[in-house]
């Protein structure tokens, strides 16, 4: 009998916890979005956690997935921030508005270069965007070896590990490399934006998933393979891999910051104005992210491979943060 009573008590207790917690206000910031911004966001989150706030919870969903969650609605059930490795699209702003999410604050945190890397034990290379398009495009010449594209390139098979379509890195690669390469061979008007960006499906280009560490390991083991990922992964693994020069420009903090390196892009995160001052710590999180400690010339995010903004744009971003300026009025 005693056991029965205990079991019943446990069941009641269990049932009671469910609705109680669900209506409670949330006091932990929730963040979703890009896997490229994720390492930087976690560092800032930890700093906030040391300042008498709960440490924000960050889920790496990819830029597109993050936008969907972010735009699903206002309120405690939906995330407060989303990280993005490209700017928010018009269609996403519309989706947000449809679900009542207006008052979106855009914060640029810095720049990132996309590295085209191979094993550090192989020879370093220089590529042009046109050569990269020829090597990767489904609607291109589909050569077997690099030397078939240009005799000055080595006579080795083309093997490239590329990010999946859900990735913001892929979006940036499409608009910065595939589109430009397509244009320079004069096929852009025929093919259009979508067809230009289709990758080869005959095995020369492989979608390697979001796990960039795995790609680094495979590059180190296979001297012929190339991989595409953010600058921070190259920077952390320089003993194993090296970045190719693109159009003669080497990938480095300086060339990315000045956008001399041709495959550079800004990184963002987006905030809901309506959540600021409701979920504790949001204003402080934004302030910390754009502070000198974090993204200044010697900021801790620079150690992690984030490329700083030029000081003029940084002060503009800071004004936006303190005035909570929204992109949709």
């Amino acid at each position: 009998m005693n056991l029965k009573r205990k079991m019943f008590g446990l069941a009641v207790l269990f049932a009671a916890t469910v609705p109680y917690g669900a209506v409670q206000a949330r006091d932990t910031i929730q963040i979703v979005g890009s896997s490229t911004v994720y390492p930087f966001a976690t560092v800032v989150a930890e700093k906030l956690g040391k300042k008498n706030f709960n440490t924000p919870v960050i889920e790496s969903t990819g830029t597109g997935g993050g936008m969907k969650l972010f735009c699903a609605g206002l309120g405690v059930k939906y995330p407060d921030f989303t990280n993005a490795s490209r700017a928010i699209k018009k269609s996403e702003v519309e989706l947000c508005a449809k679900n009542g999410v207006t008052g979106i604050i855009e914060i640029i945190i810095g720049n990132d270069g996309i590295a085209f890397s191979n094993s550090a034990n192989s020879a370093p290379f220089n590529f042009t965007k046109e050569q990269l398009w020829k090597a990767m495009a489904e609607h291109g010449p589909k050569p077997k070896t690099w030397s078939q594209i240009d005799p000055s390139l080595p006579d080795v098979a083309i093997k490239i590990m590329a990010p999946p379509p859900t990735s913001g890195t892929r979006d940036a690669w499409n608009s910065l490399v595939m589109k430009a390469g397509c244009k320079s061979v004069g096929k852009y008007d025929d093919l259009g934006k979508k067809k230009c960006a289709v990758f080869r499906e005959d095995g020369a280009v492989e979608e390697a998933g979001e796990n960039d560490t795995l790609i680094v390991k495979r590059l180190a083991a296979d001297p012929e393979a190339f991989g595409i990922f953010g600058f921070s992964f190259l920077d952390q693994n320089r003993d194993q891999i090296q970045g190719s020069t693109i159009e003669g420009v080497e990938i480095s903090l300086d060339t990315i910051q000045s956008y001399e390196y041709p495959i550079a892009r800004p990184l963002f995160f987006y905030a809901k104005k309506a959540h600021v001052n409701v979920v504790p710590g949001m204003q402080e999180y934004m302030d910390e992210f754009v502070s000198d400690n974090a993204v200044g010339e010697y900021g801790y995010l620079m150690d992690r491979g984030l490329v700083p903004l030029e000081s003029k744009s940084l002060s503009e971003v800071r004004t936006n943060v303190s005035s909570l300026k929204t992109i949709d009025g």
Partner: protein
């Protein structure tokens, strides 16, 4: 037996047929032995690689620093209040002390390189030291602090040092400091307690499994509370009450099918139903446990039915003959005898759930959660997901952490399976 065989040859010398059969026998044995050997070798190889890359995560490199808790440097009065001590900029205190100890290091970027030899946690360590013991103010102390992950990787040999400077994780100057400190006994290694207590961190030297262990425990608790009563009730009904007909056969086939469904399907179900329809909070042990209990349920039902079936009918008949109701028969006699088998099945089901990752990724239990969850409604991480997250991180220090976390989860699994074996051996009765 042997005599029987030799009879068939009729006393003649061994026929060629017999020799061939013996050879086939030996060959078959050898193939079997080879199979076992191959399986053992691959397990050993796997464990060997994990252990060799992971054992080093259980100790951490520390450096000694001389800190002068000078009230002037700290910008406080000589007898400061706790308030004052909380407002001190401990990073500045640390940097200024480094400048005093290493006056030969000049220039902003050189000093920065020196500070980068130490963990980011140094200011926090100084703060907690001073707050817990305010009498330190005004004294000079030698304090042991964590090294940075890069310095540690070189020290442990996990990152190469004999390559050119641009490719190495430390600069030439930093390498000289490391060697110099080692020579002066300013380095020591200590057991990494933090690994078991703290949550994940972006700095590998500070990261731990504590939060993930609590998250996994909460998730398994929910799984147990849902799947055990439901599984046992279903098994009792199917075994003791249900009529044997077409319907119960279909149910039985479906339960067996359910056990073979890929776990990610349960994750999708959880995403579609629990999160989107019922609006339960994303990434919490509550939802994780509910999804995993769907997965464990068939295992528990199948094991429980087998255990109930193994209880001899004479027990039931005896109880019924003494006037017990069917329910009394089951709860007083059959169930206690079947309990060891049921518990074994439950533990094995939970061990499977502990190692499961795919469904948790679908329901958002895949986040950076630095604070240890305090209940089933806090977002949490879990052991296998933490391994996945660490394996994805770019910093070199996470390689050993990933392997060490795999070792921990293996220890848990071995422990649970041993418990299952123990329960079976200890309480099982044979008739």
């Amino acid at each position: 037996m042997n005599r029987g065989f030799s009879r068939t040859t009729g006393g003649k010398p061994l026929s060629s047929l017999n020799i061939r059969r013996q050879r086939a026998e030996r060959r078959f044995r050898r193939i079997g032995l080879f199979g076992v050997g191959l399986a053992l070798a691959s397990v050993l190889f796997l464990l060997g690689t994990i252990f060799s890359s992971g054992y080093s995560a259980f100790w951490r490199l520390h450096f000694a620093v001389d800190i002068d808790f000078d009230p002037v440097l700290m910008n406080v009065s000589s007898d400061p209040s706790l308030e004052e001590l909380r407002d001190v900029n401990y990073l500045a205190l640390f940097r200024k002390n480094l400048e005093r100890s290493y006056p030969e290091v000049k220039g902003r970027s050189e000093r920065r390189k020196l500070a980068q030899m130490f963990s980011e946690s140094v200011p926090d360590i100084l703060e907690s030291l001073v707050i817990s013991n305010p009498s330190l103010v005004g004294s000079k102390q030698r304090i042991w602090v964590l090294s940075s992950s890069s310095a540690e990787m070189i020290y442990k040999g996990a990152a190469p040092r004999d390559i050119e400077e641009t490719r190495r994780v430390l600069t030439d100057q930093q390498l000289t400091w490391l060697d110099q400190w080692q020579g002066e006994n300013l380095t020591r290694t200590r057991f990494n307690f933090r690994f078991f207590t703290s949550g994940p961190s972006r700095s590998p030297e500070l990261a731990g499994l504590g939060g993930a262990i609590v998250g996994s425990a909460l998730t398994l608790l929910v799984t147990l509370l849902i799947s055990f009563p439901m599984g046992v009730a279903a098994a009792i009904y199917l075994e003791e009450y249900a009529p044997k007909n077409r319907v119960s056969e279909i149910i039985e086939v479906n339960i067996n099918n359910l056990a073979a469904v890929p776990s990610i399907i349960f994750g999708l179900l959880g995403l579609a139903v629990l999160l989107n329809v019922f609006g339960l909070p994303r990434g919490t042990p509550l939802v994780g446990g509910m999804v995993l209990s769907l997965m464990t349920l068939p295992t528990i039902i199948i094991a429980s039915r087998a255990a109930l079936k193994a209880v001899p009918p004479s027990i039931r008949d005896g109880a019924l003959a003494m006037g017990a109701s069917p329910m009394q028969t089951i709860f007083h006699h059959v169930l206690p005898l079947a309990m060891p088998g049921i518990l074994t099945g439950t533990i094995i089901g939970l061990a499977q759930a502990l190692g499961e990752t795919a469904p948790l990724l679908m329901i958002g239990m895949f986040a950076f959660v630095a604070d240890t969850p305090s209940g089933i409604l806090d977002q949490a991480s879990s052991l296998p997901v933490q391994i996945y997250l660490w394996a994805e991180s770019s910093e070199r220090g996470y390689v050993e952490l990933t392997a060490a976390a795999i070792m921990i989860i293996l220890v848990f699994l071995v422990f649970m399976n041993l418990l299952a074996v123990f329960l079976r051996k200890k309480f099982e009765r044979r008739w």
